[in-house]
Symmetry: C2
Subunit: 514 residues, 2 copies
């Protein structure tokens, strides 16, 4: 058995059954092994930012890693920005990166690079496999590292001769790393805080934002009157009718300060204390009011879900039903396109059990309010602030959950970063409806320019913020990659296009000129 075969078999044995990839010559033996092993689904991306972003979206939905297969240092480098986002989403990913044959490195051939150096900034676990007999064990180590709480990026570099040599041995996972429990003292302290009667927020992150974590948090909030919050960068939030009410912290400084002003206490569950994305001269970085007592229930990497359940068990009285979002769909809007009308349209049409991927930036800030009472759904956001994640995330979420509908909301500037994802949606027949908000601006930067106190942008600065001239034609771009697309010019047109998209058996794209 070659090293490559032992690698793939070990990954499959460890539960990794999906490989997002763009391979090259140095990975051919791994491709040959994948060729023989249909237990691993392979999904091709035409650019590695699609590959890593898809692995992120996949992991957010199924709580286990996909692997990527990437071509040498440059292939990994192309995927780094979405690994940045994935590292902030705290998801498990196993990157498999090819390397030149060990004896070939001495020649410094054109594609030679410091792959470990490129991988290090975003890899919590990193190793170059040394022999065909070890690469199976290395795969197990990578999977164990990736699945260590809260979810990590593990990168395994595989030299070509390690892959092609005989002597491979399939390795089995002996057990996953146990997630450390939150410290009892912290749970007791938080219970005290919740009994104090002071206005308290519970800031949730990671697994505390969906499933049994969110359910426990909802009951704690109901029993204590605390407010559940999510950070602006949301990895995955389960929401909609019947779900506990969770407020997302605002992106813009002043509304965020206002939103948090009332809180005297804040409890962190796998979350960092809220801060601004950027510094602004003379303004705050910290969003909580002075004197707000911030305490950690469970730190990043501790079992926040378990801590919430212990906390809940210790609270009296425990209500059987937390305060939940009520079913409340807005009515279908009509008329000229407005941002609030677009949000209303989404609220009116979102199918049950949908996955919403949201990188709508300035165009979509009303979306969450309009979908509070829509049927239950998951909301995935940009966690690291590196734009170009929405379309790849949608690919990964749709691959992970083929029975669910994915609504991908993307700003035009963000969408251009990784538009190649549309091709993968078409090839794989993914049920993704992509909405492009075509304001033809990096609108957030225009706002930030003035906000930073440097006056109004002049013509030369505007040329760096305005992406019209020429206008991007998303209908052509989508059709050019095999995705049916249309442009809408009214809210009723948008509603119709959404409904059609949600009913189709494959991807579609809707361009909304703003």
């Amino acid at each position: 058995m070659t090293g490559a075969e032992s690698l793939v078999r070990s990954l499959i044995a460890g539960g990794v059954d999906t490989c997002f990839t763009n391979p090259g010559t140095s990975e051919i033996h791994i491709v040959a092994a994948l060729d023989q092993l249909p237990e691993m689904r392979c999904v091709l991306g035409l650019f590695e930012g699609v590959v890593t972003g898809a692995a992120d979206g996949y992991a957010r939905m199924v709580d286990k890693p996909a692997c990527t297969l990437l071509h040498l240092g440059p292939g990994l480098a192309n995927g780094l920005a979405n690994l940045h986002n994935a590292s902030r989403a705290q998801v498990p990913i196993v990157n498999v990166v090819g390397q030149h044959a060990t004896y070939h490195l001495q020649y410094d051939a054109p594609l030679t690079s410091d792959i470990e150096g490129i991988a290090r900034p975003y890899s919590k676990w990193l190793r170059t496999s040394q022999s065909s007999s070890e690469v199976g064990v290395d795969a197990v180590r990578a999977m164990v590292a990736a699945r260590s709480a809260p979810g990590q990026i593990a990168t395994l570099i595989v030299p070509a001769d390690v892959a092609w040599s005989e002597g491979g041995r399939v390795a089995a996972v002996a057990g996953w790393a146990k997630t450390p429990s939150a410290r009892e003292a912290n749970i007791e302290r938080v219970a005290e805080m919740l009994r104090s009667g002071l206005r308290t927020a519970i800031l949730l992150s990671g697994k505390a934002l969906y499933g049994k974590g969110l359910a426990a948090a909802g009951r704690v909030a109901a029993a204590t009157g605390a407010q559940l919050l999510a950070p602006y960068p949301i990895s995955r939030l389960e929401r909609g009718a019947g779900m506990p009410q969770v407020e997302r912290i605002q992106y813009v400084l002043e509304p965020a300060l206002e939103q948090l002003e009332e809180f005297r206490q804040m409890i962190l569950v796998g979350a960092q204390a809220p801060v601004t994305y950027f510094a602004y001269p003379g303004k705050e970085s910290v969003l909580t009011p002075a004197g707000c007592d911030i305490h950690t229930l469970a730190s990043v990497g501790e079992d926040g879900v378990g801590a919430l359940e212990v906390l809940e068990a210790g609270l009296k009285p425990v209500p059987t039903q937390p305060e939940i979002e009520r079913v409340e769909r807005p009515r279908e809007p009509s008329g000229a396109i407005t941002l609030s009308g677009l949000a209303t349209a989404v609220g009116a049409t979102l199918p049950e059990n949908a996955i919403v991927v949201d990188e709508s930036m300035t165009s979509g800030r009303g979306m969450m309010a309009a979908t509070r009472g829509a049927p239950p759904h998951d909301w995935l956001g940009n966690t690291g602030g590196s734009i170009g994640i929405a379309l790849p995330l949608a690919v990964g979420a749709a691959v992970a959950c083929p029975e669910r509908r994915v609504l991908c909301l993307s700003a035009d500037g963000s969408g251009m970063y990784t538009l190649q994802a549309l091709w993968t949606m078409a090839r794989e027949g993914l049920k993704v409806t992509t909405v492009i908000f075509a304001n033809r601006d990096y609108a957030v930067l225009k706002r930030e320019f003035s906000y930073l106190g440097v006056g109004d942008p002049g013509r030369r600065a505007l040329d760096m913020f305005e992406i019209g001239c020429p206008d991007l034609d998303w209908v052509r771009l989508a059709k050019g990659m095999g995705v049916p697309a249309r442009r809408v010019d009214s809210l009723e047109g948008f509603v119709g296009a959404l409904r059609e998209g949600f009913e189709s058996q494959g991807p579609s794209l809707i361009e909304v000129p703003l």
Copy 2:
């Protein structure tokens, strides 16, 4: 004066007058400075791979650096793959990368990353500026490093508060680093080798492949009977009618071995000894025959051009006219599309003084033979093997040389990596004619699969190599970004489309289905 203003003024004073960019909030004060200083031309790319690849193309044509302006770690990360190629092209580039305000870093906001770690693998010079009073001097240091032979990537990280604080000071370049001369002993040794009568190749790289370097090499070859060679990864080769004959070393192993078989001696001028891109089990990595005496005239970073001139002066007799390519355009082809016919069409139509950017991969291997006798032109290739460089290179070359025509030859798989470059071509009205060879394959990988001895690829492997299904429609993709485009179905159609492209006042794209 702010740090940002001193930075931009220092760059301009040092001769950097072009900035390829995709900025973000943390770079806004630098944008504000650029807004006020029209001496710096700013060119926006919708993805950073376009930005860095354009900086590479620019530098290849004008032998001085452009700067990039990139948004934090992820913006730099998106540009890394083409910095890989640029590092192999040995061109000067000054990257300016924003960073959070120094006091904001402690909060680990979502976009926080190890920017130095991300920059290090491809930066020969790297520094995070510490204060507004120093950032001007840092810019000078970066420019001096970038322009040190053979041309280097220098990365200057600028925290937002360094940019926005007052106290900036414009700094001037005291002098550029002197390029070390080749060692006399090496020149003497090479002169002896050339007198030996043994069959000798001179492998040229960097500045020895154009201008006075190539002219001197041509005269040395003419005087001694040596054969001039270029490595397969060509940064810039001046060629065509009237230019010295230079053979490019073949990409594929066996033809390359055959090509070099005759040589008993090889002289390296700024070049590495030729090796294969990849290792293949049981095959050679080294392309020169056993017993070939390889000697360095000038190593990378030494003055190869000067060494050739010294060498030439010591040789007798020095012919006034080296052996040159004769004017010999092929006749315009017609009929069904074939690879050789496409090459003939390019040879028949290439305008004088054109710049050819070549990432045509398997589809374009006849291009150089067909253009040997075309009017003089420059040929730019993929130097690092990371695909997705052609379109960005074409942007940079066209910005550098607005009076010249650029012909950009790209494989479809390569073009998809950085297709956003088409938008920049349209916005800037660049005279680039892009040809997409649409074979709907990563054809090189199909070949490599069998070549690596793992048999014929099965269906699952082919799904990782074939990029049809759905077919990419490059006419729609180009028009979607504002570039006029057409698909041709005959060689006469291709000739007509090329001629039209070469006469137009802006970009165009031709899709050639194969």
